[in-house]
């Protein structure tokens, strides 16, 4: 991990450990914007993290961003910082100076997280980027995570630009997929740790349930899924840094698929081990698992991304399967 990445990850981790406690999460679900948290994130320059330094940002890459997003997930951070980062990054990429404050990220067919709080909205269909100031919002909320999810009423854009070719026609969707995969990977780390601790504390039939082989086998399997999600996300971030979002489509798709599958399996296992207590509102487990379930659908569920990979592989045929898998990070032999 690069020094700057490590430093930022640590800063954000500390910030969220202090600020993203269950009360804030619950308030956010009731519609209360976490202003204090946002202010601190802004003070650290985070919303403009993906904007090049010459455009007033921090100049991070996608890999750095993915690492930060994973930390957001680890704390189930109740603010749309990841979306705003991605939106600003896309705007800057298209030569549009991102406005200050929270910028919503528009994804095809999906409502905008916390749209009602966004003075601005970035849309990026087909390689074009448009900056909007929506005239209103049709308010809603997610069916599982319950955070605000609103649909914009659009007028003419404030600014328009074109992304360089390396972003490809699906830049917003790809950035959104990486964001959601990273958050799932982070949240899975949190729930696994939480569950191991619970299993070592909770006693049944005279001993800690963590001593039962059935619980151990479940959590070992969960650990495998957590590790896979983290590796898939890191791989996708690295690929995006090297080849741009469009060039990293395979890795980002793989990360969304693996994180989504890991999220489903992992959430099931941690709930099974927690049993009744994990089904209560007062236990923080669901603050994470509900977001995991919701993030699985954000920027397209596994099936969408799996089909992209699969369609491409089927078109190429079996003879290319292995060579295509190994060639991505290697310069071909002379």
């Amino acid at each position: 991990m690069s020094d700057i990445r490590e430093m930022l990850v640590e800063q954000v981790d500390r910030l969220l450990a202090d600020r993203s406690e269950p009360a804030t999460l619950r308030a956010a679900e009731a519609g209360t914007w976490p202003q204090a948290l946002w202010d601190e994130a802004e003070a650290l320059g985070l919303p403009l993290a993906l904007v090049p330094e010459e455009q007033g940002g921090v100049g991070l890459g996608w890999g750095d961003a993915a690492a930060l997003w994973q930390v957001l997930g680890r704390h189930a951070a109740p603010l749309p910082l990841g979306e705003s980062m991605a939106a600003a990054g896309l705007l800057a990429g298209a030569g549009i100076t991102p406005p200050a404050g929270f910028i919503g990220l528009g994804l095809p067919g999906e409502p905008v997280a916390w749209g009602r709080r966004a003075a601005h909205l970035a849309l990026a269909p087909g390689g074009e980027v448009a900056l909007h100031a929506p005239s209103g919002w049709q308010e809603g909320r997610g069916p599982i995570a319950r955070e605000p999810a609103d649909r914009p009423v659009l007028a003419a854009p404030l600014a328009e630009g074109r992304l360089p070719a390396a972003y490809g026609p699906d830049a917003a969707l790809l950035a959104g997929a990486l964001l959601n995969a990273a958050r799932i990977a982070g949240a899975l780390e949190a729930v696994l740790d939480m569950t191991v601790e619970y299993a070592n504390t909770r006693k049944q039939f005279g001993r800690a349930i963590g001593g039962f082989q059935a619980v151990q086998q479940l959590l070992a399997r969960c650990a495998g899924e957590v590790a896979a999600a983290g590796v898939a996300v890191a791989n996708a971030g690295r690929a995006a840094d090297r080849r741009g979002l469009a060039g990293a489509e395979f890795e980002i798709a793989a990360a969304k698929v693996v994180a989504g599958e890991a999220g489903g399996t992992g959430a099931e296992i941690v709930h099974q081990v927690h049993a009744a207590i994990g089904f209560t509102d007062e236990h923080p487990l669901h603050l994470f698992t509900r977001r995991i379930w919701a993030w699985r659908d954000g920027a397209g569920p596994e099936r969408l991304w799996a089909r992209r990979i699969g369609d491409a592989a089927l078109a190429r045929g079996g003879a290319h399967l292995w060579a295509d898998l190994t060639s991505r990070d290697e310069e071909p032999a002379a």
């Binding site: 082989q213 959590l219 896979a228 898939a232 698929v257 693996v258 699969g310 399967l321 190994t326 290697e330």
Partner: protein, 379 residues
């Protein structure tokens, strides 16, 4: 997550050239392999093939040149392994020597042992078998009972070993033997030592065990007063358990822990084009394969840095086994057998059967998950 980290590793800059060489070699030599070859791959045995591999410097790649090695990196070796496995090459005749026995001798053997054995492993001449399990031990390796008694100039061995892969074709075995009684029933892992045993020794008999496919991959070996000279004790007397456990990390670390059934996907892919469920299913498989590959590469990188990532290897093997064991059934669910070419059906049938053995070799699922659970801090 409880200390289990998998930092990404890049393949070495030499990888593309290495791959090109390997692919040309494998395309040529593997032109007429029947489906049984990729179905067994690293569990198969083909001395001729291994000698060809040895000739090209692809065995003992990381070992010192003094012993015939290539002094190349663990990640270069990784590239060779994954290329072999991706096409299901019959690497079994040199696999154990390259993966476990050679490294053990290099690390703990005497200078004499190194000079004696390593160059012949490198050339693909000397095939090794693993002598751990016994009829009554299974996953409980500490309960071993085959004993080596001190006699003048060496040891006299009596007892039985089973599940010694391809032993009837091999030259030597690294056997874990009891050289002293366990001090008490809870310290059964004490008093064990590792030996290089010549499989042509007098008093040693090998009975091949056919597997459910009808192949003779496994064996039962009976020791009846087999003499093993002092010079073939490996490492420290009584330290065999620790040595063998460290060896298991190597066994669990390789890409053979997720790639065993990949040749079936390659073979079947073109016939899946008309199947409506195929794109999503193939995409999920490839997403997993790509991720497991990065995890496996990460473990290889840790080995290259001199670490012993035993728990990470256990996790990757467990996740990899799940993948490679589920793959044949995933393919089966996608195809219509009345419209699928016979060679695909044959490989599918073979893989369905052989996949049962993936989770046996190198530790059962339950054992691996127990290791991971302890690493997580469950108690």
């Amino acid at each position: 997550m409880a200390g289990l980290q998998f930092p990404l590793r890049d393949t070495p800059p030499t990888a593309p050239a290495l791959r090109a060489e390997l692919r040309a070699f494998l395309a040529e030599i593997g032109r007429d392999w029947p489906p049984i070859v990729p179905a067994y791959s690293w569990m198969g045995f083909d001395r001729e093939f291994s000698r060809e591999v040895g000739k090209r410097g692809w065995i003992g790649m990381t070992w010192p040149k003094a012993y015939g090695g290539g002094e190349r990196t663990a990640l270069e070796r990784y590239v060779v392994l994954e290329e072999m496995l991706a096409v299901g090459a019959p690497v079994g005749a040199h696999w154990i020597g390259d993966r476990q026995s050679g490294p053990l001798i290099l690390r703990l053997g005497t200078e004499e042992q190194r000079r004696e054995f390593l160059p012949r492993i490198v050339s693909g001449e000397l095939a090794f078998a693993i002598g751990l399990s016994e009829p009554d031990s299974g996953s409980d390796l500490a309960s071993l009972r085959t004993r080596a008694e001190k006699v003048p100039g060496g040891w006299k061995v009596n007892g039985r070993k089973v599940w010694t892969s391809s032993a009837h074709c091999c030259d030597f075995m690294i056997a874990l033997l009891r050289t002293a009684p366990a001090p008490d029933p809870k310290a059964k892992h004490q008093g064990l030592s590792q030996f290089l045993v010549d499989l042509r020794s007098s008093g040693l008999s090998i009975r091949p065990i056919l597997d459910l496919v009808g192949q003779d991959g496994f064996n039962e070996i009976t020791f009846d007063d087999v003499f093993v000279p002092d010079s073939l004790l490996v490492g420290q007397e009584g330290n065999g358990w620790e040595q063998a456990t460290a060896e298991l990390a190597f066994e669990r670390a390789g890409p053979e822990r997720y790639l065993s059934s990949l040749p079936l996907l390659t073979e079947a892919l073109d016939d899946l084009r008309a199947e409506p469920a195929a794109p999503e299913a193939a995409g999920r498989l490839l997403a997993r394969a790509s991720t497991l590959r990065q995890m496996s590469l990460s473990v290889a990188g840790m080995l290259q840095d001199g670490h012993t990532p035993a728990r990470e290897a256990a996790l990757v093997k467990d996740a990899g086994n799940d993948f490679e064991q589920a793959l044949p059934e995933t393919i089966r669910r996608l195809i219509d057998p009345t419209r699928t070419p016979p060679q695909v059906l044959e490989m599918l049938g073979l893989m369905t059967m052989v996949a049962r053995s993936y989770s046996l070799r190198g530790g059962t699922r339950e054992i691996l998950r127990g290791i991971i659970a302890r690493q997580l801090g469950l108690r």
